[in-house]
């Protein structure tokens, strides 16, 4: 069995960031590329990171909780 590996994969971490693996560019609205310093990045989704759009672990301090994300079968 060959598992299809998508070129970009986003893992929704419970109570945490979106982990992004693969070739992807994050840009400002006017099209300028934001610095990307590593192959796998974590995007903030608690809204309180000091280095947005990236995660800095602040979600743990503020007790950020996500609703369970239900996989489609």
């Amino acid at each position: 069995m060959v598992d299809r590996v998508p070129p970009v994969l986003i893992v929704a971490c419970p109570d945490g960031p979106l982990l992004v693996r693969g070739e992807v560019e994050v840009r400002t609205p006017d099209g300028r590329a934001l610095p990307q310093r590593r192959r796998t990045v974590a995007l903030c989704r608690c809204g309180k990171s000091t280095i947005k759009p990236y995660c800095d672990g602040t979600h743990k301090i503020i007790g950020f909780r996500t609703e369970p994300e239900t996989p489609e079968d």
């Binding site: 893992v11 971490c13 419970p14 109570d15 945490g16 960031p17 982990l19 610095p35 310093r37 590593r38 192959r39 796998t40 990045v41 974590a42 990171s49 000091t50 280095i51 990236y54 995660c55 800095d56 672990g57 602040t58 743990k60 301090i61």
Partner: protein
């Protein structure tokens, strides 16, 4: 991103100078490394272990262990490479390790055992690492540390950080599948993702140089207390023993999960005293990197390992608990000494000593 381009030579690490003995066992280990016969090592180890009050805080035994491990890392200048597998040295290491591991197992309390699934293991690890009392050393540094204290902090950190990530790399060939891919993903980032100037230990060396400190491997080993050696030795113990692969994985997970937030404070501490990017790059890098690493380490590395080898669950929790205990001791030591108006180092830094 700081526009710092380091050439290959600037990030090379060379074998370290032999440290100064702190008692009979480390003296005999050092004599052996210098080419002596070492007939007395085993009885000296037995006597020291029988007499020691706390092997985890004993200068002589922890320095001896540090030297016994260093022959597996970058090694010592002038010491033949084949001593790495000296039967006498290996026997001494294994004997000290046996007692260290037993004391560690008695010292930590394991959290309630989660289900052996990746998600449950990750949740359990996030729970125990967030129950930490908080980064009090980091807060002190950010709010009120003096320049001397920040320099001491870098000196204390340098013993591990100049070989950052190396102890956990021993685990790579001992894992497979999801856990292996996760560990390599983390370590590749630690080692600069193919760019030598971005190896984390090399970035830290730049931080040291920016405060006028010597970035040579082992330059300050003689100045640090036993607990700093214990922190590194514990990682080496877990990393160099295949049977402890669960513990080294749990250790790395807890280490990453307690790193991003303190590093933000560390960066602020140096900014408060006017230092620029060449100093703070290391800490700023870790705010972003470790927020990524902790997710990978909890879910894919620790969670993936337990899902594949459920019998390793207790050792994963053990390794995490040990990191939370032992890796906090150097910070406690610094805060205690500074609160008493003293230096946290065993002797003054060379230039301070010269100044009198």
């Amino acid at each position: 991103m700081p526009a710092l381009l380091l050439d290959d030579d600037a990030v090379l690490q060379r074998p370290m100078v032999l440290p100064v003995a702190r008692g009979p066992v480390s003296a005999e280990v050092l004599a052996l490394l210098r080419g002596g016969r070492g007939h007395d090592l085993q009885p000296l180890v037995e006597a020291a272990l029988a007499a020691v009050a706390d092997v985890l805080r004993d200068d002589d035994l922890q320095l001896a262990l540090f030297c016994l491990y260093e022959v597996h890392y970058g090694g010592f200048a002038g010491v033949p490479d084949d001593l790495e597998w000296s039967p006498v040295l290996s026997a001494a290491r294994l004997r000290i390790e046996r007692d260290v591991e037993a004391v560690l197992r008695a010292a930590v309390r394991l959290p309630p055992r989660p289900e052996p699934t990746a998600a449950a293991v990750a949740e359990a690890l996030f729970a125990i690492t967030s129950a930490e009392s908080g980064p009090s050393l980091a807060r002190h540094l950010a709010r009120s540390a003096t320049l001397e204290q920040l320099r001491e902090f870098l000196v204390q950190r340098s013993v591990y950080t100049l070989k950052e990530a190396d102890p956990h790399s021993w685990a790579i060939p001992r894992l497979s599948g999801r856990a292996k891919a996760a560990l390599v993903e983390i370590q590749s980032d630690e080692y600069g993702g193919g760019r030598p100037g971005r190896i984390h230990s090399a970035i830290f060396a730049g931080t040291m140089r920016s405060l006028g400190l010597d970035d040579a491997a082992g330059a300050y080993v003689d100045l640090v207390p036993a607990v700093v050696l214990t922190s590194l030795n514990t990682m080496s113990l877990f990393g160099l023993n295949r049977r402890l692969r669960g513990a080294v994985v749990g250790h790395l997970a807890a280490f990453e999960m307690t790193s991003a937030v303190p590093n933000r404070f560390y960066g602020n501490a140096f900014r408060r005293l006017g230092f620029g990017e060449e100093t703070t790059w290391y800490f700023d890098e870790h705010v972003e990197a470790d927020a990524v690493h902790e997710q990978i380490a909890a879910r894919d590395l620790a969670g993936g390992l337990v899902a594949a080898e459920p019998e390793l669950l207790d050792d994963v929790l053990f390794g995490a608990a040990v990191s939370l205990l032992v890796d906090g001791w150097p910070g406690e030591h610094m805060l205690q000494r500074w609160a008493a108006g003293e230096s946290s180092l065993r002797a003054p830094l060379p230039e301070e000593a010269a100044r009198g």
